[in-house]
């Protein structure tokens, strides 16, 4: 048994705030803040990963190594519906071969969370009061939902801010205050307060602004570093951004939504693994609702998303909506991405003016 517990988990967007809040309150362990993903993280992950595994594997492995160097000895990994569900076992083996001593807790296997298993694993971290844990879990879930709601507003309006970085700064302020809440009522109060603050930020948004939607693989969409801050880059060009994939959708809404999507869609009949069939439906929906352009992003070698690429090009071809594919790898050049994005933006503008 290890003595002091130092817990670490990989970064994904801003969700480290609620997860840290949960862990801090239900266990007496120390939580290590994963360092921000940098070029060094990617290089570390790249060096020890198999050759053609998808990029999130490399990113999270790199983060784990950095956390272990900081002294972490309990690592937490989630799982998903595709290869993602199998990451943990190989990552554990790779890190053990590198000589680290730790426990890795995987919360979801084979695309399904097994509560018996999770409780057994959580017992390894230390004693937990389950009633207290449930209460804090509820607050955490609410916090994630609130954050996602505010993010939707930010994405739509960030590009039209009058004062530079006003949205970004206010969001950082909000995350700090969210991490220090004391109760559910406190959270609600703060959420309302910040929601109003965001609404009152001055923007200059024309009614016929360009609307672009981002669809694609979940990790690349949700972790800004993995997509080279695509959203911020788009916002700089005064574009209103729509994105459906967020933690709230993936955890609570997806299961029901997908049945509906399969019925409504003309292009997809079965589940295609991970978020693939959702994205096909989304693409059709966005085309029908006159979006100016669609950007599909994924990490390289993401099998489910590769499978839908010909289908969504077909849909966009039919509705004549411009579509841009990005495949992000550990060695994607940022300049190349910016050039393509600029060309795409110019094309959208020209199409509008025609």
């Amino acid at each position: 048994m290890l003595k002091a517990k130092l817990i670490a988990f990989p970064q994904m967007g801003d969700y480290h705030v609620p997860i840290k809040y949960l862990l801090k309150n239900i266990s007496d362990s120390i939580i290590i803040d994963a360092p921000n993903i940098t070029a060094k993280t990617i290089e570390l992950g790249n060096r020890y990963s198999p050759e053609f595994v998808c990029t999130p594997f490399k990113y999270t492995l790199g983060t784990y190594i950095e956390c272990l160097e900081l002294g972490a000895n309990v690592l937490i990994q989630l799982g998903g519906g595709c290869r993602y569900g199998y990451y943990s076992e190989l990552q554990e083996q790779i890190l053990k071969d590198l000589g680290y001593n730790f426990i890795l807790i995987n919360l979801i296997t084979a695309g399904r969370a097994n509560f018996k298993d999770i409780i057994k694993k959580i017992k390894k971290i230390g004693k937990i009061n389950y009633f207290k844990a449930l209460a804090y879990l509820f607050i955490t879930i609410k916090m994630i939902k609130y954050m996602d709601k505010i993010d939707v507003y930010i994405r739509e309006n960030m590009g039209f801010e009058l004062e530079k970085n006003s949205f970004k700064n206010l969001k950082e302020e909000m995350l700090v205050s969210f991490s220090n809440i004391t109760s559910y009522l406190d959270l609600r109060k703060k959420y309302k307060q910040y929601y109003n603050k965001f609404k009152s930020l001055s923007i200059d948004k024309p009614d016929d602004c360009l609307k672009v939607a981002i669809i694609g693989e979940l990790y690349t969409i949700m972790e800004p570093f993995a997509n080279y801050e695509l959203e911020a880059e788009l916002a700089r060009n005064r574009v209103s951004i729509t994105r459906y994939t967020n933690a709230d959708y993936l955890m609570f809404k997806k299961k029901r939504a997908i049945q509906k999507f399969l019925k409504l869609s003309h292009y997809v009949k079965y589940r295609m693994g991970a978020d693939a069939s959702d994205n096909v439906y989304r693409c059709e929906y966005l085309c029908q609702h006159h979006y100016d352009g669609i950007i599909h992003i994924k990490s390289s070698f993401c099998t489910p998303e590769i499978a839908i690429m010909p289908i969504i090009s077909k849909i966009c071809g039919k509705y004549k909506v411009p579509l841009l594919f990005f495949s992000f790898d550990a060695n994607t050049s940022e300049v190349g991405m910016k050039t393509r994005l600029e060309a795409f933006y110019d094309m959208l503008k020209m199409k509008r003016n025609k």
Binding site: R83, Y86, I308
Partner: protein
């Protein structure tokens, strides 16, 4: 009335269930057309339809569909999601129907296998048979006969495979999927070369009861075919001299599973990754040196 022509592409699921499906539909009185063995032309066709990051096996499969496009009335397609919660398939198998349906203008008969949600082969075949006006009892009877016949066929293959383990020659276990290994254009040249060298080739997918044995290497693994492959390593590890892993570029499950097994087992191994730029010379050099090492060891 002319016989209805059903086309089965020679790729992916064909190498598992092809014998059964061909037999079943022939017995019901259909004309079954199986596409020709893979060749350069077919792969080029597949490349034309596929998006460029798809795996080699899927590209080949699409090439076969393109070949059958004008030659049959219906295309028989199996869309396999899972054979149970812990026996899932690679997502390419699950998305096969939607890819083909969107890329080609074809009439498709689809068999949807999703045993987690109680969709199995027999149920789907009854549904399909009813569309063509067959009685349920007739379908079940044909299903049983074809099942017995195909089981006999597979049993014979498994017996041959098992007997190879008794040979005194150098024995190598090929860990791969049959759609790579048995494909004339992709894996067959490797087999041919090894056979010329008088080496006994043991196939990982031709053993019984390998699924559970995979627990020795991996507890959480949930891909059916990967489980069977690595279970086979555990089953025969004392009776073989070396292991060759063959995967197509960029196979999702193999990229993780092979890496894990290579780290955990202590047998000599060779990891070959095949793509459609098939230069055999480089592969053969690697095979040669691998065999030399095995001879030096034994």
């Amino acid at each position: 009335m002319d016989e209805i022509k059903i086309g089965i592409p020679r790729g992916l699921y064909y190498y598992y269930d092809g014998f059964f499906l061909t037999d079943f539909f022939k017995r019901l009185g259909f004309e079954v057309i199986v596409s020709i063995e893979t060749n350069r032309e077919l792969i080029n066709q597949g490349n034309y339809y596929a998006s460029d990051e798809m795996c080699l096996s899927l590209k080949t499969y699409l090439g076969h569909v393109a070949y059958l496009k004008d030659k049959c009335d219906y295309l028989l397609l199996m869309r396999i999601d899972n054979y149970g919660l812990y026996d899932q398939m690679c997502t390419n198998f699950a998305s096969l129907y939607d890819i083909v349906n969107n890329l080609f203008d074809l009439k498709i008969i689809d068999i949807n296998i999703d045993e987690k949600n109680k969709q199995n082969m027999l149920k789907e075949l009854i549904k399909i048979g009813k569309q063509f006006g067959f009685k349920k009892s007739k379908i079940i009877e044909t299903y049983k006969i074809s099942q017995i016949k195909s089981n006999k066929y597979i049993k014979r293959l498994k017996m041959i495979n098992n007997n190879k383990l008794k040979s005194n020659n150098l024995k190598i276990l090929m860990v791969s999927h049959p759609y790579n290994l048995e494909d004339r254009y992709i894996g067959y040249s490797i087999i041919q070369y090894l056979e010329e060298m008088k080496i006994e080739i043991v196939y990982s997918y031709l053993f019984d009861h390998t699924n559970g044995l995979s627990k020795q290497y991996s507890n959480n693994l949930y891909w059916k075919y990967s489980k069977e492959s690595i279970g086979a390593i555990e089953l025969v590890k004392d009776r073989i001299d070396g292991v060759i892993f063959i995967s197509s570029f960029p196979c999702g499950p193999d990229s993780l599973v092979n890496e894990l097994v290579i780290r955990k087992m202590n047998l000599p191994y060779l990891n070959l990754i095949l793509d459609d730029i098939n230069s055999l010379t480089g592969t053969i050099t690697r095979l040669e040196s691998f065999i030399d090492i095995l001879y030096a060891k034994s």
